[in-house]
């Protein structure tokens, strides 16, 4: 038998398992050992407990992954993570089959060159940090590209063989794929185009059957109302009625944010440039793009509608996720398509070079790529010892007194994992804060859901925002229950005055309003937070943890905000500066630019409150340098300049802010101040009046009314 190592036979062709097994081992040894941050925890819980995940619910993911949780190997979250690895490997296997599929390429390329090109492609794609990361955590993206690969493969086989089974299998997979990630819906026009150009006969009947098999796959969404009706503990959005189901499927809560890229003209071009210059790996432009173009050219000659469809699918994928440039997972479909085309290009090149008939050389090259890349990336990609996402929040959760109530935001996903998977501290009542504040989008709080808490019987939806929560808190405090809350303003800004620091990441509700935190309370809170973070930094390498940016850091921002609201500017600054220190100087900074901008903005805001206007302005300018569309930074820069009496720079900053937000109340107010300083009361009045129309707070409205009265008085002769 010919072997890879000796290369004695020139006919040797590498099977996919030669690459997939090493990749599986790599994913296995570098995978997260337990739950990850936020969505990772969420998907672990919803898959394990058949719960309802955030919009659009991801039922296909939950159902398929649930099957693997019956394997008695390791803890349940690790099994769920291994499911991601498995989905990636099956996707890579299909990619391999797609590249070696002869009718696509034509008979002029040898099996050997196709196989080597396919093996090289799946190796490189499998080693990309995006796929590697997504194969080592509980996420839906690897299943998403598995379905897409399946869909593309069905398309290839259908046009290659003319067998309609592939057409309807593809339609069915497409329905299931929609149940995994709703974004596949954007590929529909491309798929229809492809079908209409390839189908020569019997189009209406076949379209009808396509719709039928698609709907069969799409029926996986019956999962949502059925499970919501069964009241699982993790029931995001509670889609048990037709209206709520539609709201969940269309993600009405965040739909505006999803389409923001399509509406922000110039910003879109900026994001596109970021994608080209920073997001896409530089090696792609040097090696990947030429191969991709060759592959596209090769495929065009055989199946040009497929090339158009693939180009459309890549473009729509990139376009839709462009404003989330930092998270590469979103672009996996485009990367998959590029990998396929590059594989075809590689096959063409190999068939025309002496390399293509030298298995020893090719095998050595693949082994070298694997060893070198793993050696290079392992320190960053290896998360096998990262227990922080499991243990960090767990320490607070375990420290809660018996039968406590927690009102949570970020920690909800983790606390649900503790209770639903590990059955830890089932005496604690865990409530998502959004259930109180936005019941129309989340899951209303009812006595049936929380039998151990005192739940007010009011008709919840009619209650004023936050009022219901106040009643809930009051009733349970009167019953002697301990209520904890993570630093989060609950959308109402009224609760911070009833909270005191208690645990490192949790505050405790007080029966009476806290007018002033005692210095020792502030110091103690800062000390325990610092001790906790320093311990994790030393033992676990906190900064390297993927996903940390979005969750842990956000919690610290909120904690700083808590102190700021209590007028403890020093403590707020201490938290933000500690965060800044953790991530080090700019050269080694691994914090995403939007969070760095927010950090500068937060520090600037505190400095502004402390009357250090010059330093504040420097911070706002730093934030703007990172994100020139940051309305808050521009508005605050204007205010800082105004306070420093630098009137012209103030005006410029404020007018820039006006262009960036549809409701620029702060900028309008400050422009009112500006014109007041210039002694132009009539113009000032116009800006104040416009600001008044936009503000919600009655206090601010009253404050503006007073200014308007003063201006009117001054204007009287």
């Amino acid at each position: 038998m010919p072997t890879l190592l000796t290369g004695r036979s020139k006919g040797f062709t590498p099977g996919p398992e030669l690459v997939l097994l090493p990749l599986f081992f790599l994913y296995l040894v570098t995978a997260l050992p337990a739950i990850g941050w936020r969505d990772n925890s969420e998907f672990a819980v919803t898959a394990f407990s058949l719960g309802v995940a955030h919009p659009a619910g991801f039922p296909t993911y939950s159902l398929l992954t649930k099957v693997l949780t019956f394997l008695p190997l390791a803890g349940a979250p690790f099994r769920i993570t291994l499911a991601s690895a498995l989905y990636s490997l099956i996707c890579l296997y299909i990619l391999y089959r797609m590249i070696i599929y002869a009718p696509t390429i034509g008979p002029d390329e040898s099996t050997q060159s196709r196989s080597w090109a396919a093996a090289g492609t799946i190796l490189v794609f499998g080693l990309t940090s995006t796929l590697w990361t997504n194969s080592t955590e509980a996420e839906v993206y690897s299943l998403n590209i598995l379905f897409l690969a399946g869909l593309f493969y069905c398309a290839l086989r259908w046009t290659g063989e003319g067998r309609d089974a592939w057409l309807y299998a593809g339609a069915f997979l497409y329905g299931l794929a929609a149940g995994n990630h709703g974004s596949v819906g954007f590929y529909l026009p491309g798929l229809l185009f492809y079908f209409l150009f390839q189908a020569r006969r019997d189009i209406p009947r076949r379209l009808g059957l396509i719709a039928f098999f698609f709907l069969l796959g799409f029926s996986v969404y019956l999962y949502l109302p059925l499970r919501a009706d069964a009241n699982p503990a993790f029931d995001f959005g509670h889609p048990n009625t037709w209206d709520r189901l539609l709201m969940h499927l269309t993600d009405r809560k965040d739909s505006e944010a999803h389409f923001v890229a399509a509406r922000v003209g110039l910003k879109f071009l900026d994001h596109l440039w970021i994608f080209i210059s920073q997001t896409a790996p530089p090696v792609f432009w040097i090696l990947g793009l030429p191969l991709t173009l060759i592959g596209a050219w090769r495929l065009w000659r055989r199946d040009w509608p497929l090339v158009i469809f693939l180009a459309y699918a890549s473009a729509i994928n990139i376009f839709f996720f462009l404003h989330w440039a930092a998270d590469l997972s979103n672009y996996l479909p485009a990367f998959l398509i590029a990998a396929y085309l590059a594989g075809l290009g590689g096959s063409w090149l190999l068939s025309r070079s002496a390399l293509g008939s030298s298995p020893l050389l090719l095998g050595s090259a693949l082994a070298l790529i694997f060893i070198a890349w793993v050696g290079l990336r392992l320190p960053v990609q290896d998360r096998s010892r990262s227990f922080i996402p499991l243990e960090s929040y767990r320490a607070d959760f375990e420290a809660l007194p018996p039968e406590a109530i927690t009102i949570t935001g970020h920690q909800w996903f983790h606390q649900r994992a503790y209770q639903d998977i590990m059955r830890l501290r089932e005496d604690v009542t865990v409530i998502l804060s959004s259930d109180f504040v936005w019941p129309q989008w989340f899951n209303p709080v009812t006595p049936a859901r929380f039998p151990r808490a005192d739940v007010p019987p009011d008709p919840f939806f009619e209650a004023e925002k936050g009022e219901y929560l106040k009643k809930f808190v009051r009733a349970n405090l009167e019953q002697g229950r301990d209520i904890y809350c993570e630093p989060f303003d609950l959308g109402t800004r009224v609760f911070y005055t009833h909270l005191k620091p208690a645990l490192p990441f949790n505050l405790k509700f007080q029966p009476q309003s806290v007018e002033k935190l005692q210095p020792e309370e502030v110091q103690s809170a800062l000390n325990q937070l610092r001790r906790k973070l320093e311990k994790e930094l030393e033992s676990e390498g906190l900064v390297e943890e993927v996903g940390l940016h979005a969750h842990y850091i956000d919690l610290m921002f909120r904690y700083a905000q808590f102190f700021e609201r209590h007028r403890e500017i020093g403590a707020s600054l201490a938290i933000l500066r500690f965060l800044e220190d953790m991530f080090g100087p700019a050269g080694t900074n691994t914090m995403w630019p939007n969070y760095r901008a927010r950090l500068h903005e937060g520090i600037g805001h505190n400095l502004l409150a402390a009357g250090r206007y010059g330093e504040a302005a420097v911070r706002f300018e730093a934030a703007i340098a990172l994100d020139r569309y940051d309305y808050v930074a521009w508005a605050n820069l204007g205010l800082a300049r105004l306070k420093e009496n630098q009137l012209e720079p103030a005006r410029q900053a404020l007018e820039q802010a006006l262009t960036l937000d549809p409701k620029p109340a702060e900028a309008l107010y400050n422009l009112g101040e500006y014109y007041r300083k210039l002694n132009q009361p009539r113009t000032a009045r116009q800006y104040y009046a416009r600001a008044r129309e936009l503000v919600d707070s009655p206090q601010t409205k009253a404050q503006i009314d007073q200014i308007l009265t003063e201006l009117d008085k001054a204007a009287q002769p």
């Binding site: 099977g15 398992e17 997939l20 097994l21 599986f24 081992f25 296995l28 040894v29 050992p33 337990a34 407990s49 058949l50 159902l63 398929l64 649930k66 099957v67 949780t69 019956f70 008695p72 190997l73 390791a74 803890g75 349940a76 979250p77 690790f78 099994r79 291994l82 063989e161 067998r163 309609d164 089974a165 309807y168 299998a169 069915f172 299931l176 098999f213 069969l216 796959g217 996986v220 019956l222 999962y223 059925l226 499970r227 009706d229 069964a230 699982p232 503990a233 227990f387 243990e391 375990e398 007194p401 018996p402 503790y418 639903d420 998977i421 590990m422 059955r423 830890l424 089932e426 005496d427």
Partner: protein
């Protein structure tokens, strides 16, 4: 080698690799726990025992870790170190539940940990001066909470999972049986494909029922 043989061999190698890695990590954490315990560093010991349980394999080192952590929890409870004891016992319970699949490993250890844990929780809630009657009442209440059946139930969850695999597989089976490679030679595609329609209906019903009742 035939592709099916290669696939089978690959699956066996992959499963063996998972089992090997899991058991190796469980053993490593168990060693670290024992080292910490030898230094009377109970907090570190409990953390490593818990991590060892995360790498549970039937009859493996993780089950030894669960046994030793239970023993440590009971020892700490006897010494009056209530908070540490509660933490260890709670971790025995949560670690074993977190490793449950189609069964929950070592229910005997969970059954030993729960009554002591419930009493420690009651004591922490009521304080040392509580009457025995109150203590028993609250202990009973916490025990009741711990002994509630886990959701989703195993039977319906299995039904939902297997039903899902059955109906999705049947749709694909139906399609490929109904539209063969050489349609001209097939006289009645329905006759070839109807068993898949039947299995689809069966799988779908099983799936719906499983989702409804799990």
């Amino acid at each position: 080698m035939k592709p099916s043989f290669r696939l089978g061999l690959s699956v066996i190698i992959a499963l063996a690799a998972v089992a090997g890695v899991v058991e190796y990590r469980a053993g490593r954490e168990l060693d670290l726990a024992r080292q910490a315990r030898a230094k009377s560093d109970h907090e570190t010991a409990v953390n490593h025992y818990t991590r060892s349980l995360n790498w549970h394999l039937p009859w493996g080192s993780a089950e030894t870790a669960a046994g030793e952590m239970l023993e440590l929890g009971l020892y700490l409870a006897r010494r009056g170190q209530d908070a540490e004891a509660a933490l260890a016992l709670s971790r025995v319970r949560s670690g074993l539940h977190g490793a449950r699949s189609f069964y929950t490993p070592r229910p005997d250890l969970i059954a030993q940990a729960e009554p002591i844990l419930a009493r420690l929780m009651a004591k922490s809630r009521l304080g040392p001066a509580a009457s025995p009657k109150d203590m028993d009442r609250l202990t009973g209440r916490y025990l009741e909470i711990m002994r509630q059946p886990a959701r989703p139930g195993l039977g319906p969850a299995l039904a939902a999972s297997l039903g899902f695999l059955l109906w999705t597989g049947s749709v694909l089976g139906f399609v490929f049986r109904f539209y063969p490679k050489t349609p001209a030679t097939i006289r009645s595609p329905w006759r070839r494909a109807w068993p898949y329609a039947f299995f689809w209906a069966l799988g779908f019903a099983l799936w719906l029922g499983g989702l409804k009742w799990s």
